[in-house]
Amino acid sequence: MIELQGLTKTYAGKRVVDDVSLTLQSGEFGVLIGPSGCGKSTTLKMINRLIPLSEGRILINGDDVTQLPVEQLRRRIGYAIQSTGLFPHWSVARNVATVPQLLKWPKARIDDRVDELMTLFQLDPAEFRDKYPHQLSGGQAQRVGVARALAADPEVLLMDEPFGAVDPLTRETLQAEMRRVHAKTGKTIVFVTHDMDEALALATRIALLNGGRLVQYERPIEMLVDPADDFVREFIGQADLGLKLLSRRFVHQYQRRARLAPETGLERLDEHAWLVDAEGRPSALAGARLDDADAITRVKPEWIATPEMSMKEALSRMVWYRVTALPVVDREGRLIAEVGMPGVMGIEGDGGAIEAAP
């Protein structure tokens, strides 16, 4: 648990962080967001005392951070930054091992931990252990940076715009990975970004700052539907509010039963239906294509949905492939449900099932 109490930072008489108070429960993913100069990075760096605070208190699991020796405190807190800050003269393995080495773990334990973390971030230890940072792609380097921050199993993980310098595609992959790692490790995370989509994709709590003051501290969906004031509304961006909501909703919440097509009489169907192959994988869709409602459309891998997919992405696929429903498949690729326009409109699903042909 992280508590900020009346946190204030004054530079030359100017209050760049002004009386910020909030509590982040253990295991939550907190995102500090706001326009540049709002004090979000300063707030983050006061937590691990890279910047000394002027007034107020910061408690981590009840301990006042200013009461601990500063190096000891930092070794308890993971820290990942933009452009990684990896040590260019150390191999990937040695970079990841930085804090365990500072803590003087035995070598065997460090080696095991490094392999474990690299596997968690889908970097094959055999291939990547001995590489140097300059041999990595931007996304790989950023993964190593986060793995390094998690190495000593810290109570809290601080991330300062870690994905700010990678391309949009890699960023989305890294965000998905971060969600997965957060779910798996249950770490308390404080994450700074200026990108609302990133905040919505990751946060369980969003703290919106402006001019050093905390404007709103809320769960993402609540912030979307109930912005505290005009600034919040404007910052979220009203035009695609609906799409932002969809990005916080997931297919498994809205999937419905899928109807299988009969062997014959396809042309007399009154509702669309799915054809599956011998393994139960969707092979074609009858009657749900916009431009030829009667015809049979072969299912392409590009427009298959999975339960973990966001509704925003599902909608995007429907629009792009001009279908009113997507097949939802399990890990083996078997049809388990469908998701369609009712789900996009927010009508909750029935969990999904397969309905045999009449």
């Binding site: 691990n48 190096e71 040590f87 003269h89």
Partner: protein
């Protein structure tokens, strides 16, 4: 007009230029000089007068081979570069052998006091061989190790000529034979002056460079003071130190007993240290300042102490730049130590000034050549060290 249809004739302009320069030089400058004694200036002897036919033929063959290496056809570029590189060794060997051989024959029929010295054409052939080799090594993109190997081969060839009696009749070698003991002593003195200056320069310069990265105020003051030292002419500094050091030795007798005096080793080392400080401090500062800010922030954020950051992150990343500074000051100190001979500090400079005073040019060379060789070897070794110090992640 499409370019690919105009056939290229010249493959290596550098080699062709060197070839032409050497040819013109050989045509215009004497290969050797023959004088009745050590102090009188000698009669010029041209290459074709000095060398017997078979040596001229050999030289002609080497020249023809080098010309072939400079042309675009028929050899493919890499083969041409290898040919050029390979021919520099026989060129070097033949020039040395021909000179020694000529001296032997010429002196056999002259008076005992007569002297044979190398001429401009000889130096030009050596210089051309060296430059052709450097050019070829660069074109072939050989690693430092292969370069070192080639340099060793060339040095070995020169060493073998010096060790054998082949070059003994030369005036330069006779000066050496007369001064052999002094030569060794002055060489050791030269090296100890350089070492005696570099150690305190590093001991002072490294911490000062560190201070410069930590405090802006110190940095500005430090660099303006050190810049002043660097602009003073070396002879002036040596001269300026005489009076205060003499006074100091007089006032504090135990310093005088330790060897501090207005002339000799003490002022030489002080001046050399002052000259060496700026490059050491500047490179230490540049190396440390070049460590990326994000790397340092990450190191602090991970919980490294300042000392751990310095030893584990800053110094390893700055080391190649710091060692480049050491390379600069080492080569510079080897050269400046020559001037220190003027205030009685000794070293190879002693031969140079003695030779200048006697107008014995071979004595000057006896001081100058080893100084140059020393500087080149030191430069090369430190280059190896710089390359080795580069962390594997940044190579």
């Amino acid at each position: 007009m499409p370019r690919e249809h105009t056939p290229r004739v010249i493959g290596n302009r550098v080699l062709l230029t060197l070839w032409l320069a050497a040819a013109i030089g050989v045509a215009l400058l004497p290969f050797a000089t023959l004088s009745p004694n050590r102090l009188v200036s000698g009669q010029p002897v041209m290459l074709w007068q000095a060398l017997p036919v078979w040596q001229l033929g050999g030289l002609g063959l080497i020249a023809a081979g080098l010309l072939l290496a400079a042309l675009a056809r028929p050899l493919p570029p890499r083969a041409a570069d290898w040919l050029g590189l390979a021919l520099t060794l026989p060129l070097l060997g033949l020039a040395l052998f021909a000179l020694g051989d000529y001296a032997q024959r010429a002196l056999a029929e002259a008076s005992p006091a007569a002297r044979v010295s190398q001429g401009g054409a000889f130096w030009l052939l050596l210089l051309a061989a060296a430059l052709i080799a450097v050019d070829a090594l660069q074109r072939l993109r050989l690693g430092l190790l292969s370069r070192a190997l080639f340099a060793l081969l060339a040095l070995g060839l020169i060493g073998a000529c010096l060790a054998s009696d082949l070059l003994a009749p030369l005036s330069l070698m006779r000066e050496f034979a007369n001064q052999r003991d002094i030569f060794v002593a002055q060489g050791l003195r030269h090296l100890s002056l350089v070492g005696g200056a570099l150690l305190p320069a590093l001991a002072l310069g490294l911490p000062l460079g560190l201070v410069a990265t930590r405090s802006r105020r110190w940095r500005d003051g430090l660099f303006s003071v050190l810049n002043v030292f660097q602009t003073l002419p070396s002879i002036a500094v040596f001269g300026l130190l005489i009076a205060p050091l003499a006074a100091l030795a007089h006032a504090v007798p135990w310093l005088g007993e330790l060897g501090v005096s207005g002339i000799g080793v003490a002022p030489a080392i002080i001046a050399l240290v002052l000259y060496s400080l700026l490059p050491v401090v500047r490179n230490t500062y540049a190396g440390l300042a070049g460590v990326p800010a994000t790397t340092l922030e990450a190191a602090r954020g991970m919980g490294m102490t300042s000392r751990q950051i310095l030893w584990r992150v800053e110094l390893p990343l700055a080391l190649p730049v710091i060692l480049s500074g050491l390379r600069i000051v080492t080569v510079q100190a080897i050269g400046l130590t020559v001037v220190a001979a003027l205030i009685g500090a000794g070293g190879f400079g002693a031969f140079i000034f003695q030779g200048l005073g006697q107008y014995a040019i071979d004595l000057v060379l006896l001081g100058a050549i080893p100084t140059i060789v020393l500087a080149v070897i030191a430069d090369f070794l430190l280059q190896l060290l710089v390359a080795a110090s580069r962390p594997p992640g940044t190579r």
